[in-house]
């Protein structure tokens, strides 16, 4: 028996006029008996900047990881750019299909721990996939990598390896690396959580710049509430494997409708 105030799992944000670029249909994810996603229905419009907030363990990151094919959903269907990424009903669960690999190329990801390749320079990190996945020639890939490094303010660090760089610099290289694949959707998994406080600003400013200047779809899990408020078209509050509330940042942060959102925001904003 659900009380009538219990939010539905269906999340529709700002009026979506075009076909959504990301669509989760009845997606669940179970870890043993623990259900981290509960029958999620979730859509993101092309170009939309969406922030996902909520307590840890609420399933936020799992959404990104399913999109990046780092996790398999237990149930449901995920469609990206009109192509099926996952469809558990088709038994497409264990094996990597060609369809999955091609659909995955539309998506890029920036990790909490950067995950740069430590034995390669910043430039090598960036050109690796464009050359060996997109088939770009080396000169073109290098030129583009140099542009991207300039974009993230690291033009002079081209030949440095990750161990020679600060966390903030590594994360900016990681953003450039993801951009080099020209993704339609860019996922950010708590991109500043592993950084020292004084380095957070430089990474946020790169992401802010991207949010304002590109039509890329961005989906970000973050604990930086002010930042989420500033750059997002829409904020989704997650708790306990389900979307509790979704809306424009002004509404979510200034006038949350749900008790759980209010409690969460009160807890994270008072310090």
């Amino acid at each position: 028996m659900r009380p009538s105030t219990e939010p539905q799992a269906v999340v529709t944000g700002a009026p979506v006029t075009t076909e959504p670029i990301i669509r989760f249909q009845n997606v669940s994810k179970n870890w043993g008996t623990n259900q981290v996603l509960k029958n999620l229905n979730f859509e993101v419009a092309p170009g939309e900047k969406v922030s996902i907030i909520g307590p840890s363990g609420s399933g936020k990151t799992t959404i990104l990881r399913i999109l990046m094919t780092l996790e398999t959903p237990s149930e449901g269907k995920v469609i990206v750019g009109g192509d099926t990424l996952w469809d558990v009903a088709l038994g497409q669960k264990v094996r990597e299909t060609k369809q999955l690999r091609e659909t995955r190329r539309k998506i890029g990801m920036v990790f909490q721990q950067f995950n740069l390749f430590p034995h390669m320079t910043a430039l090598e990190n960036i050109i690796e996939a464009p050359i060996h996945v997109l088939g770009m020639n080396k000169a073109e890939a290098r030129e583009r990598a140099a542009e991207l490094l300039n974009l993230v303010g690291l033009g002079k660090h081209m030949n440095h390896t990750p161990p020679q760089m600060s966390g903030g610099q590594q994360q900016r290289v990681a953003i450039a690396r993801a951009l080099a694949m020209r993704p339609k959707v860019l996922l950010f998994d708590e991109p500043t959580s592993a950084l020292d406080p004084e380095l957070i600003g430089e990474v946020l400013s790169v992401i802010r710049n991207l949010a304002h200047t590109t039509d890329m779809t961005m989906l970000m899990v973050t604990h930086e509430m002010r930042f989420a408020e500033e750059i997002s078209d829409r904020v989704v509050m997650f708790d306990n494997g389900a979307a509790v509330e979704s809306g424009p940042p002004a509404q979510i942060f200034k006038d949350p409708q749900q008790e759980r959102t209010r409690n969460f925001l009160r807890a994270v904003l008072q310090h």
Binding site: R101, G108, F111, N115, F117, E128
Partner: protein, 218 residues
């Protein structure tokens, strides 16, 4: 029996020839073991049905039986089934395969030591499997196990004396031959031991330095 300096000097060049054979066995055997061990480690990790099990069994089998027995079987039994090479080639293959089983375990630990995030980044960039292994995972995995592989090289250098049992004329067999023909063992065996030490001691110092240099980066 008293040490005879003149005799020692006279046999030294022959022992050096034996040492050279031992060094060749070690280098070629290590090369074979390093390549084969890497192939085994990757095959096991890929978890290909049947093939991975066969490799696992092979590794267990090789590790569970004495090198001497393997050498005897290869040299005295296999020719009866039409597989026959000279003693030196047989010796190198036997010791190489034997050590590949140990090196496969070393590589496995190296591969396991590569953080999960490296695999995830490769997936996120849609890198093909061959490229992920060849450019991302193995360079990091091998880097951390170079010192351990070096230790196995030194161990193989000493273990190769076992191959004297299948008539490979390496350092130990040379010393034995001098002993049995001259009835003087003290000089050839002492010199053989010193020659082994003269190579293995600096080599292990070198491995110690590698250990410091190739400390994990993470």
């Amino acid at each position: 029996m008293i040490w005879d300096n003149n005799f020692a000097v006279s046999i030294f060049p022959i022992l050096l020839q034996g040492l050279w054979v031992t060094v060749q066995i070690t280098l070629l055997g290590t090369l074979l073991a390093a390549v084969l061990g890497l192939v085994f480690a990757v095959l096991r990790r890929l978890a290909i049905p049947v093939l991975s099990q066969v490799v696992s069994f092979l590794v267990v089998f090789v590790r569970g039986t004495p090198l001497l027995v393997q050498a005897y079987v290869a040299f005295f039994v296999l020719p009866a089934y039409g597989v026959s090479f000279n003693a030196l080639t047989t010796g190198i293959v036997v010791i190489g395969v034997n050590y590949s089983a140990y090196m496969a375990e070393v590589y496995r630990s190296g591969i396991q030591g590569v953080p999960k995030g490296q695999w995830e980044a490769a997936t996120a960039l849609s890198l093909p499997g061959v490229r992920t292994w060849g450019r991302i995972i193995l360079p990091q995995a091998i880097r951390t196990v170079v010192p351990m592989l070096g230790n196995y090289l030194i161990q193989m250098f000493k273990d190769s004396a076992v191959l004297s049992a299948i008539t490979v004329v390496e350092l130990m067999a040379t010393a034995q031959a001098i002993g049995s023909s001259s009835f003087r063992y003290i000089e050839p065996l002492t010199l053989a031991a010193l020659l082994f030490l003269a190579v293995s001691y600096p080599a292990s110092r070198l491995v110690n330095r590698l250990e410091r240099r190739y400390a994990p980066q993470h």
